[in-house]
Amino acid sequence: MPGSPNINQVVDHLFRHESGRMVSVLSRLLGLQNLEAAQDIVQDTLLQAMNTWGFNGIPENPSGWLYRVAKNKAIDFLRRQKKFKEISPQYSYLLQSEYTLTSTVSNFFLDDEVQDSQLRMMFACSHPSIPEESQIALTLKTLCGLSVHEIAKAFLTNDEAISKRIYRAKEKIISEKIELNVPQGQELPQRLDVVLKCLYLLFNEGYNSSHPDKLIREDLCEEAIRLTYLLTLQSVTNLSRVNALLSLMCFQASRLQARVDDKGNIVLLKYQDRSKWYKPLIERGTVYLELASEMGEASPYHLEAAIASLHAVAPSFEQTDWKSIYDLYKSLYEIQPAPIVALNKAIASAYAISKEIALEQLLKIKGLEDYYLYHTSIGEIYFEMENKVKAKKYYEAALHLTTSHQEQQLLKRKIDSCEVV
């Protein structure tokens, strides 16, 4: 008779998250060059859990159970290896002796060490020598426990493309001899910026409304938040900009439910039911923004978080503090003069100053000719200026540039509304 089989006792995503933790711990123990072996051990462990728990019920401490099994498998692996020095040069002498082998391995699975291993893994996955798209794929695979197929689904591409990205990352790990270290001194802030960029992109991938599957989008956002949160827990990485990024993510994520209606159509900020915004996340966002401000820094993440906070506290679209938002975008543009920032700045100016100023700014932007939102935004301004002929022209241009079904539906509705009058 099975013990007390109740799947609800198992935390959501337990396997996925523990997979990320165990891969990090084992890679640190075996050396990152043995990432494959670490992943195999974790896969074996989860398989064993699936079979045993499925038949016999959930153990009292599921994570502890997994760690114990993974630990034993790692010890077996180490005993089979003759060349310890090649495995983990740092710990080889402790792993060579049966007296210290088990206790050394056990120490790696202590709570603090598990967190530390994940931190090291984040820096390794975002190593500057690994191409950006491979960084994200590797992060999702090793730290978030997503399979190649799941990552491919999230990025709307095929398994082969993702396998290649991960393969390239692993090649770099070998060729550049990337180890699981936390960068020290002056190197730290620079390397941390790459980690943050990777997390920012990961979050945006989820937040980007182009994905047809809502659950996948939420998962990516959640993973990005989880890893950014992890950075705030460690004193070396709990920097101002990390808090700012986490704040930004919380504010944005609070709107996830309100951004799509029951039929899966996109709901623009202007028309969102603000009562659907998730208050606890807005509160978290405010707390992290305060922490970020206390530490006195003004990174792009600070400015973006501040903008997001103004939206979050606004009772309605019309009552939004557009003037301050416009000023923040101006500051952001000064430190980050990218066309996408210029686009947002121009949109804000429409509400802060006038539609004419916004249009003038928009038409001056170079480099977004292939971006559908650029054309949508111009269309929007023309529409509000009652110039429906021009509005339609820009909406149509945008329609050709997006592959997202949801975005296309939205644009078709807009085009129709230009014809009605």
Binding site: P2, R16, L47, W53, G54, F55, S147, E150
Partner: protein
């Protein structure tokens, strides 16, 4: 007796999928238990040995093909084959290429 063949996860199965699959097994066992049909069951580890012939030759096995591997068994209480087959409705691995052999345990009248 239900003998489960194949349908097990492969090397590329994701942790999330494994957890979901495990949940389905647990829900199935719970359902059978509540109906008073479930007697016992065990999962089996892959691998094993095959002993064969007069010389009792031992080889690795018993099966090498993934789809032939017996992954576990249940002993159920069922009136007849029809009922036993019906109880297999919630087997979670049909979609993954798994199959069930339903066999009646022979009861010896002493």
């Amino acid at each position: 007796m239900l003998i489960f063949q194949g349908g097990g996860p492969s090397e590329n199965t994701s942790p999330e999928f494994m957890q979901a699959q495990m949940g389905k097994w647990m829900a199935w066992i719970e359902k059978l238990s509540k109906a008073g049909k479930y007697v016992s069951g065990e999962p089996l580890l892959p691998g094993g040995k095959l002993i064969k012939g007069k010389s009792k030759t031992v080889t690795d096995g018993p099966y090498t093909e993934g789809k032939e591997i017996v992954g576990g068994f249940f002993i159920l209480n069922a009136e007849n084959y029809d009922e036993a087959v019906k109880l297999c409705d919630d087997y979670p691995d049909y979609e993954n290429g798994g199959s069930i052999q339903v066999r009646q345990v022979m009861k010896m009248d002493m």
